[in-house]
Symmetry: C2
Subunit: 345 residues, 2 copies
């Protein structure tokens, strides 16, 4: 890759900044005016020609201004990434909202999604924290009507799964409680994948419930389930690049098909460690539907215990300067919250 001169660098950044704000191709004339450059438009044009040659800019038509290419955006992001901090005032507002919200995971996720969407004017997405390797913590069995039983499973890391079981015959709450106590003793702290090596309990009810627990656990970890929270879907509809609604529809469809979304998030963050950001620009050749979009993604949580993913989707010319620090800050906040609520051993 050819080196950029200092002037080319700043020029490139200015062009991108302008285009992000105006949504229109940047022209030599306008740039000089807007940023009070001490150069003539002609000079700018020469530089722009060079940058175009190098693949950072593109001309929509023979004689229009320049628009950044994906490569251009990548350069832009890499430049502003390190020194992007959210203004303290905003940090406080956000952190305040979290601390006065009701203290449960569901609320936090919803809140985080809302904040991300609002701050970035994009579509936000968060997966609830999920343990890579679940360890059993506690089971509760609550008799409901007749043969129906409400089962609540709690895992180390704070994950909770509840389900209604239908037993073969009615059972008293007392017997259920005893079963729960025995199973709790049996399973406490055990990693989920060790369940199959357990001795079969003597009591037939214990045995049945254990089977059901096992089923539930398998389904939960297999489907890599856990809710996905999104917000701000309509934000993106007002962007001019989605005027022909078809483009927007295809992008938003990804957000409705939870399994695809999950896959997207998973694949893009496999090599990202907690706190590290990932910026996907233009679908990175992988996601046809996101050709016009960018995503800022981060992982949060406590490594090895429970982690989740959060991100923002926007048009390729989204305001990275706002989105990136916001995503980073919220990821940090959530990591702290997860850390505070880890269900001990």
């Amino acid at each position: 890759m050819i080196e950029l001169t200092e002037r080319q660098k700043t020029l490139l950044l200015l062009i991108i900044r302008d285009h992000i704000e105006s949504a229109k191709p940047a022209s030599s004339q306008k740039l000089v005016e807007k940023f009070h450059l001490d150069l003539s438009p002609a000079t700018i044009r020469n530089e722009m020609a060079a940058l175009t040659e190098m693949g950072y800019l593109r001309q929509p038509h023979t004689s229009a201004g320049r628009v950044p290419t994906e490569e251009g955006y990548r350069y832009f992001v890499s430049q502003m990434m390190p020194n992007a901090e959210l203004p303290e005032a905003v940090q406080h507002t956000i952190s305040h909202q979290f601390h006065q919200s009701r203290a449960d995971m569901d609320q936090w996720m919803t809140l985080a999604a809302s904040i991300l969407a609002h701050q970035s004017q994009g579509v936000s997405v968060i997966t609830a924290p999920h343990a890579e390797q679940s360890r059993f913590k506690h089971v509760e069995l609550i008799s409901t009507q007749g043969r129906q039983v409400l089962m609540v499973l709690v895992f180390v890391g704070g994950e909770v799964s509840q389900q209604i079981l239908t037993l073969a015959e009615p059972v008293t709450q007392e017997r259920l409680s005893q079963t729960a106590t025995r199973l709790n003793a049996l399973l406490a702290g055990l990693a989920v994948d060790k369940f199959s090596s357990l001795a079969t309990p003597s009591d037939p009810l214990d045995q049945d419930i254990l089977t059901l627990i096992l089923q539930d656990v398998r389904r939960t970890s297999e489907s890599n389930s856990g809710e996905i929270y999104t917000d701000g879907l309509t934000n993106v509809l007002s962007e001019p690049e989605f005027a022909e609604s078809d483009e927007a529809r295809r992008a938003l469809k990804i957000f409705e098909e939870r399994s695809t979304l999950r896959d997207l998030l998973a694949r893009s963050t496999t090599n990202t460690n907690i706190g590290g950001l990932q910026v996907l620009i233009g679908g990175e050749g992988e996601w046809e539907e996101l050709r016009q979009c960018s995503m800022v993604i981060a992982r949060y949580g406590v490594s090895g215990i429970a982690t989740g993913t959060l991100g923002v989707l926007g048009p390729m010319r989204m305001s990275y300067t706002k989105t990136i620090p916001t995503v980073r800050y919220v990821a940090g906040l959530l990591s702290n919250l997860v850390n505070d609520t880890i269900v001990g051993e």
Copy 2:
């Protein structure tokens, strides 16, 4: 209101049917061809003029075909409403999907939303079943780390609320369990609004927890909370009437602002009994953002115990013939499921 002749009635229905399919104004010529009418276009025109006079039809421009007015749609719906049954094959497919899904409320809601959206090609919305008057059933307290405690509240009707509490000081699981047992005895079966008249427990921990339960209960019933499930948001974007994305954006925004949506659902179903359908056409003057839309809404559940609302939003020219029976059928299905899982007393 002036009476319609038999011919006018059938004609009106045909015009609406045509317009729903083609999304274009219906013209006398086309109608004759399409439905093999034994009349000349001129006659049709006379009748259309009459229907226009009466307010059932409208002309987009002086010399264009006719488009149904909201009044027209209302007539259409009132006519087809009673004898609209879902084909048995479809009924089976749907019911099958429910019965092989995992038996918990969350899954059912998601599934129902997906089915509704898919069948109707509209946006679906469901509120989880909610008791008008909650009665306490059971509390579980599970020690987590240090001062953190996971509290699970179960209500008669099957509603569950979980929350993480932070106590003033660490407490052992044993003490928590004892507290839970005592509180369960104290509160069992009690209607939530009677809580304030209770004698204060002697144990300070009991007292603290009781306060927290009370807080949670209040918040839950006040905010009329409970999740809202939606699906199919992108379906509606492909409809031609939402080509200028602004119209679509405003309508979809309602679906993102959960509190407005809740209000909309609540207000439109106050007088609807379980199983009864409600069709809002063009926002009914109340909802400016839904001027171009219609909603088919139903309540489901068990009256007096736990009820929820479900509905489908689509363009005003949505396929009522498909949507109405689907909504009705799914409402019935969910009512049965709720009935089966009622947490007994």
